[in-house]
Symmetry: C2
Subunit: 398 residues, 2 copies
Amino acid sequence: MKTIYLDHVATNPLHPEVLDAMLPYFKEHYGNPLSVYESGVKAREAIEDARERTASLVNAKAKEIIFTASGAEANNFALKGIAYASQSKGKHIIISKIEHHSILNTARFLEKSGFAVTYLPVDKNGIVNPADVEKAIIKETILISIIHASPEIGTIQPIAEIARIAKQKGVIFHTDAVASVGNIPVDVQSLGVDMLTFAAHQFYGPKGAAALYVKEGIRIVPLIYGGIQEGGRRAGTENVPAIVGMGKAAELTKSDLQKRIDHVKPLRDKLIENTLKIDKVILTGHPENRLPNHASFVVEYIEGEAMMLLLAAKGIYAASGSACSSKALKASPVIISIGIPAHLAQGSVVFTLGEETTDDDINYFNETFPQVIKRLREISPFAKGWEGLEDSTCTARK
Amino acid sequence: MKTIYLDHVATNPLHPEVLDAMLPYFKEHYGNPLSVYESGVKAREAIEDARERTASLVNAKAKEIIFTASGAEANNFALKGIAYASQSKGKHIIISKIEHHSILNTARFLEKSGFAVTYLPVDKNGIVNPADVEKAIIKETILISIIHASPEIGTIQPIAEIARIAKQKGVIFHTDAVASVGNIPVDVQSLGVDMLTFAAHQFYGPKGAAALYVKEGIRIVPLIYGGIQEGGRRAGTENVPAIVGMGKAAELTKSDLQKRIDHVKPLRDKLIENTLKIDKVILTGHPENRLPNHASFVVEYIEGEAMMLLLAAKGIYAASGSACSSKALKASPVIISIGIPAHLAQGSVVFTLGEETTDDDINYFNETFPQVIKRLREISPFAKGWEGLEDSTCTARK
C-alpha cells in the first residue's frame, strides 16, 4: 500500500543530499573537532561551515548560532540560561499558554526555583495580543518567550510586534521557531528577536541537530557545562555529521523555500476546503495567518487517536494535535486555550504537507477522510453527543 | 602518508556495521517515535531494541537507561538531576579533583546555586582514597561522583569500594564511565553504582548518542524538560539513527571486548616500555591499574602542543593531556593533582590505541617519537630547564 505522509510537523524524511553531505563525517573525517591533526581539523572546519549556512537561513551571524541536540534542549537552554544569567535583575518571565511543552515545563521548573511566570492567553484563533504582553511586563521581567508558529494549530504569532515591545522595555525576547523555520521565511533581524530556537529535522535535516540563535552581546548561562565547545556555551563532543547535515539542510531550505511554499499551500487549501464540508468539523488556528503546509481540525464526537489509527490503516499518516494521543492522556492546553471544550479537544487532528506531497495524495485524502469520520461516527457510542463525558474523561481513561 | 590514529580517547571511527545499522533510520524509518503509524512504530521499536543492547553492555535493565546526546549531557543531568531531586535532604556533593570538565564545571555551577562541594585529592598515581570519601561524607551529603577511568592519565579508580561506602552511608553514587566503557568490562551490578555515564563514540558508535544509567527507584529531575520521551526524564525528539548506532556498537563491544583488550594491551605495553627509555619522560597515571589501551606521559622541557603538531606531521595523531593544547590555556587540573608541577604539566601527552592499531604502527611510533622529542629539545629555548617560567606561563601566554 502506498503511504501518504501528512505529519511533517512531527518530523521529516532526510533529504538525500543531506545524507550524502553527512556520510564523510561518519567515515573518513571522524576526528574530534578539538584535535590538532587533519581529521579533527576537517571536522572543525565542517562545523564552522555548517554554522555559516545555518546562520544564513535565519539571517544571523555565524557566531550567534549555538548548536544543540534538539529544539527541546535549545528551549530549555534559552529559558534557564537567561533566568540564571539575569536573576540579579529580576525573576519574572512571560510566556504564552500555547507554548511547546519544552517551554511550558521548563517554566514550571523555574517557578519551583523561585521565578514567577505569567502565562498569557490567546484568542480563538490562537493569537497572543501584543497589548497583553505589554501589560504583563513589570520591572522584574527578564525574559519573554512566545512561540513563533504553533505545531498544533498552525497559527503564526505577531512576533515582530511583540519583539518591538520587549525591546522598548529592555526585556530579552526569545521565540521558539521550531515549527516555522523551514516552512516560512524567518529572519531574526526583521523579527527583531534576541533569541530563536530551530531544529534541523523540521526542514529535511537530521534528528539530533538544532540551534539556538543568541544575539551578539547577550549573556547566557550554559545548560550543559564541560569543555570549550560552542564557545564554552554548550559542552559535549560535537555531533559532527548531524551538524553538517543541519548546515546542508539549511542551505537547501534557503534556496528552495519559496518553491516549497508554492507547492504545499494550494494543496493544503484544497484539503481544508474539502474537509470543512464535513458536518461538525472545525478548523483550529488562524484561517489565514497560519503555516502554509498546516491544516488542523477538531472533529466532533470522535477521538483523535481513533482517527489516526484508521487513517494509518488507509495509508495516511497524520498526528493528533492532542497530547492525549501521544500517551500523556491530558487534553492539549493549546486546544483548550483557543476555547474548545475539553471533551471536544479529544477530536483534534493535524495534517502537515511536505515537498513530496502530490495532488493525487490530496485527492485520495479528500476521498478517504470523510469515509473515516463516517465510519467512526457509526461505531462511536458518543456519536449523538458527548453526554455523560466530563472534562476529565481524557485524564481518567487510563 | 599513512596515518596512525592514537587518539581513541578523543573519539573513534564508526564501526562499518554500526553505520549499516543506522542507515535505514535516516531513510525509510524516519518517523517520529511518538507516532502511531508504521514508520513511527518502527523507530520506537528500534529505540527500545537499542536500549536493551545498551543496557546489556553494562549489565543494567533496559528501563534503567536514559539516552542523552553526549557524555557531557549525561554528567550534567546526573549532578543537577540528583541535586534538585534531593536538595530537601541536603546540599552537599563530593567529587574528585580529577573529574572531567562536565562534572567539575557542573559542580561549580551548583556551588553558585547554594550547594557545597568537596573536591577529593588523588595520590601520585591518580587514585582516590576510599577512606577520604568516607571521611568527607556528612549528614547533608546527597551525591558522590567519582570518575571511573581518567581519559588523561588512564588510572582506574576503586569504584566498587567507593560505591560500597556510599551505599553504607545511604548516599547516591554516580560514576563517569565515558573513558572506561568499551575499554574494560563495566558492570553496574558488580560495581554497585547507582548511576553511570557512558558514550557511544568511545566504543565505535556514533557521536550524538550517550546514556545515563539510573538505578531503578532513584528519582532524578530532568535536565531537558518537554515531551514524554525517555519516560519523561529527557525530552526532545529522539535521535533515532544515533540511538540505533549506540545499540549496535554496544552489542559489538560486548562480544568483542576481550579480543579488543588482548589486541591493544601488548601493543600499548610495548609503546610504554620504549618511550620510558627516553631521557626525562615520566609515565603519568597508575603503572598497572590503567586502561589497557592508554599510555600517558609528561615529557620534560617540551610543550604538548608542539609534540602533537610534529607527530601529526609524521602521520601520528595523538592528544595532549593538557587542556592547554585544547585552547583553554590552563594547566590541566588532573596533571597538577598527581603532583606534577605546572610548568612540567605543559609536556603532557596521551596515546590511546584501538582495534585497528597494528604492531607496525607501534614500531613506527617507537622510532618516531624519540626523534620528535630530540628535535624539539634541540630547538627549545627551555631544553636546559624551565628557568624563568612561572606556573602562570600557560595561562599568560595568550
